[in-house]
Amino acid sequence: MTFDSVEHMVTEATDLEHSARIGATMAGEPNQTGEIPGGPAKMASRNLQVRYGDKQALYDVSLDIPVNEVTAFIGPSGCGKSTYLRCLNRMNDNIDICHVDGSVTLDGREIYAKDQDVVQLRTRIGMVFQKPNPFPKSIFDNVAYGPRIHGIARDREELNGIVLGSLERAGLLDEVRDRLDAPGIGLSGGQQQRLCIARAIAVRPEVILMDEPCSALDPIATERIEELIMELKAQYTIIMVTHSMQQARRVSDKTAFFHLGHLVEHGATSEVFENPQDDRTKDYVTGRIG
C-alpha cells in the first residue's frame, strides 16, 4: 500500500470522525454521572486491568476524567500511573506482552471496541512524553507533521496558520518566529517540550495526555510548562502523570493516587492533599513514603 492511499484513508476517517464527534458530545452531555464530582466526564474507565505477561500492573481501576480540567496522577514509581495513562490512547497496543481488560470510554464510546480505529483515536487524544522527543526535523515540520498526515489543512496557507497558531498557544512562537526552519533538536529542553505540546495540539485533540512532562526540565522551564497547562485546560481536557506533589497541587484540579497497581484515592486536589481518606495516601502526600 502506498503512503498516499494510507494518508487518504486517514483523511477520510478523520472527516467522518469530526461529524461523529459532534453527535457524541451532544448526546453525551445530559446523562453524565462522574465518580469525581465536578464537570461532566470526558473519559472514564471501568474495571480496567492491565497485565504485562504474567505481571499484573493495574487492578480494577475505575475512574472518571472531567472535561476541561487538569487531572493529575500521583504515586510512587511502578504504581501503574503511566500504564494507566498509556491505556487512555491505546499506546500499550504497541507492546506485545501487554494485555488490557475492562473498558475505557471517550465521550461514552468504548475505545477498546473492535471497530475503534486507533489512528483516529489518537487524533482526538494527544500525548506529550516524559523526555522531549521532537522529530529530527525543522520546528515548522515538527508541528506540521500531524496536520499533514491527517490532511487537516487544505492548502499551504492554512497549514501555516495551524502551525503558527499551535506554536502561539504553546507559548513558543515569540522565541522561534524567526527560525522556523531551524532543527527542533537545537532548542533548549523546555522549548523542546513546548514544541512537543505545540505538535500535539496542532492535530486539534480534545484530550492531552502528559507523562511527567517536566521531569527532564529545570524549574524555570517547568514553571513555563505549568502556566501553559493551566492556560490550555480552557480548551482541552488534560491528564498528567507527575512525580512532583507540588506540581500536582499547583496545576491540577483533580488528583488520583495510585499505589502498587491500585487506584487508592481520587478527588478534588485540595481534598486529596489536605484531607486524605486512606492512610497510604496520607503517608505519600506528607512525604512519609515514596
Binding site: N89, N94, V119, R122, G126, N133, F135, P136, Y145, R199
Partner: protein, 429 residues
C-alpha cells in the same frame, strides 16, 4: 582513622599494577593497528611495484603512406569503404621494410614484423579513416609495439638478458636501439588497458570488459538485494510478531550470512541457469547470485540500524496518529538510513571481490567484447585477475597487478561513497 589508611594502602598497592595493565593494553592495541598497517603497506607496495608499469605502453611512430593499390573494393560506400577495406597488414609491412631496408631474408622480415603488435593494423586503419585525404600522403601514426619490445623499453626485462629470456634476437635489439635514437619508440600512457576487453595479446588486453561486467553485476545485485533487504529488515524489526516462526527466520538469516559463497554459485547454476534458463556468463545471473550473498548482510545491518533508532521517535509519531507504516517510513527509516547504507555498501564491496560463485555460472570464459547490457556474456574484475594470473606470459604479470589496482580503487570509491552518504544523511539531525 586506621580503617581509612588501611583502605588507602590497599588501593595504592594495586594502583601500580592497574596502571601497568593499562599501559600494556594500550601498547598491544597500538601494535595491532601497526601490524595491520604494515600488511596493508606491503600489499600496496608489491601490487603497485609490479603493476604500475602496466599503465604505460610502448608505441612506435610510423610514417604510413596509403597507396591506391592498397585500397579495397569501393562498393556502395565509395572511397570511405575502400579505405576501410584496405590491406593494412601489407601497408604496415611495407612501412617497416622502408624503415629497416637491411631486413632482406624471409626470417629477418618476419622478425622485423614482430616488433609491432597484431593490433597495429587496426590502429593504422582507424587513423586513416579519420584522416581527410589519406591516399598518397604520409600519415604519422603511433602504433602499439609488441609485448616483448614493450618489456624491454620499460626495463621490466633487462636488455642484457639472454635472447631466449627477452624473446628478442640481437638483430631485433639493434632495430629497437636505432628506433630509440630517432625517438620513434616511446612508452606512453596505456589507454588500451582502460578501453578494451580481454585479449590473448597482452599489449591489447584491457580491464574494461571485466570492469563493465562488475558494474552491471553490482547494479543487478543492488537492485535486487537493497529493496528486499530493507523491506525484510523493516518487517522483521517493526511489524513481525515475536514468535517461534520469526525466531526461526532470524536464525536462518544469520546462518545464510555464513554460507560459503561457492554454494550460492551452485544454487545459481542449478536454479537460475538450469531451471530458469537464464543466459550463461551474463552479469544478470552474476548479480542475482551476488544478491543472495549480500541479502543477509543488508538484513542484519538494516535490523541493527533500525533497532538503534530511539523508540521515542516512533512513539511520538504514533501518538500523533500516524499509522505504524507512516511512523516507520516517515521517521524510523530515514534515521536508520545511514546505518542501512553502510551495511549495504560493505556487503556490495564484498560482492565486488567475489570470484568463486561466478565461476560456477560461467563468468570465467574468455570474452573479448565489452558487455553493453546485463545479458551480454562477460566476466568480472576479480575473475579477470584470476584468468590473467594463470597466463605464463611475462607481460600479463604486470597487467594482473594493474587489474588488482583497478579493483582496489573500485572498492575504495565505493567506501568513499558510503562515507559521503552517511555524512549527508546525518546532517539532517
Amino acid at each position: 582513622m586506621t580503617e581509612i589508611s588501611e583502605t588507602q594502602s590497599r588501593v595504592a598497592a594495586r594502583l601500580a599494577r592497574r596502571h601497568a595493565g593499562e599501559k600494556r593494553f594500550k601498547l598491544l592495541s597500538l601494535g595491532a593497528v601497526w601490524v595491520g598497517l604494515v600488511f596493508l603497506g606491503v600489499l600496496l607496495f608489491t601490487v603497485i611495484g609490479s603493476g604500475h608499469t602496466a599503465f604505460l605502453q610502448t608505441k612506435i611512430l610510423l610514417n604510413v603512406t596509403l597507396e591506391e593499390t592498397d585500397l579495397g573494393e569501393a562498393g556502395e560506400g565509395g572511397q570511405a569503404q575502400a579505405i576501410a577495406g584496405a590491406n593494412y597488414n601489407g601497408v604496415i609491412k611495407r612501412t617497416l621494410r622502408a624503415v629497416f631496408p637491411e631486413a632482406r631474408s624471409r626470417s629477418d622480415k618476419r622478425a622485423l614484423y614482430r616488433l609491432v603488435s597484431v593490433g597495429a593494423a587496426y590502429e593504422i586503419r582507424e587513423a586513416m579513416m579519420e584522416h581527410e585525404n589519406p591516399v598518397g600522403t604520409p600519415v604519422a601514426v603511433w602504433v602499439t609495439a609488441s609485448d616483448d619490445v614493450d618489456l624491454i623499453i620499460k626495463g621490466t626485462v633487462p636488455r642484457t638478458a639472454p635472447a631466449d629470456q627477452r624473446h628478442l634476437s640481437d638483430q631485433q635489439m639493434n632495430w629497437i636501439e636505432s628506433l630509440e635514437k630517432t625517438e620513434t619508440v616511446k612508452a606512453r600512457f596505456n589507454t588500451t588497458f582502460f578501453t578494451s576487453g580481454d585479449s590473448r595479446e597482452p599489449e591489447l588486453a584491457g580491464v574494461l570488459g571485466g570492469a563493465m561486467g562488475s558494474l552491471y553485476a553490482i547494479l543487478v545485485c543492488l537492485a535486487i538485494s537493497f529493496p528486499l533487504g530493507v523491506m525484510s529488515a523493516v518487517y522483521l524489526e517493526c511489524f513481525a510478531p515475536k514468535n517461534r516462526l520469526t525466531e526461526f527466520i532470524e536464525v536462518n538469516i544469520n546462518n545464510l550470512a555464513a554460507v560459503p559463497s561457492i554454494v550460492f554459485g551452485l544454487l545459481g547454476l542449478a536454479i537460475f541457469l538450469n531451471a530458469f534458463m537464464l543466459p550463461r556468463s551474463a552479469p544478470l545471473v552474476g548479480g542475482m547470485v551476488l544478491s543472495l550473498l549480500t541479502l543477509p548482510t543488508i538484513i542484519i545491518a538494516g535490523r541493527a540500524a533500525i533497532k538503534s533508532v530511539p523508540p521515542s521517535v516512533r512513539e511520538a509519531a504514533l501518538a500523533l496518529g500516524a499509522s505504524p507504516v507512516q511512523a516507520v517510513f516517515h521517521h524510523v527509516l530515514p534515521l536508520a538510513m545511514p546505518g542501512i547504507l553502510t551495511g549495504t555498501i560493505i556487503g556490495t564491496a564484498g560482492a565486488l571481490g567475489e570470484t568463486a560463485p561466478l565461476l560456477m555460472i560461467g563468468m570465467v570464459a574468455f570474452i573479448v567484447d565489452v558487455p553493453t547490457s546485463v545479458v551480454d556474456p562477460s566476466t568480472v574484475l576479480p575473475v579477470q585477475i584470476f584468468l590473467w594470473s594463470d597466463i605464463p606470459e611475462k607481460a600479463f604479470v604486470e597487467r594482473t597487478s594493474a587489474a588488482i589496482l583497478v579493483l582496489l580503487s573500485f572498492v575504495c570509491l565505493l567506501n568513499l561513497f558510503a562515507v559521503y552518504l552517511r555524512k549527508r544523511f546525518e546532517t539532517r539531525w
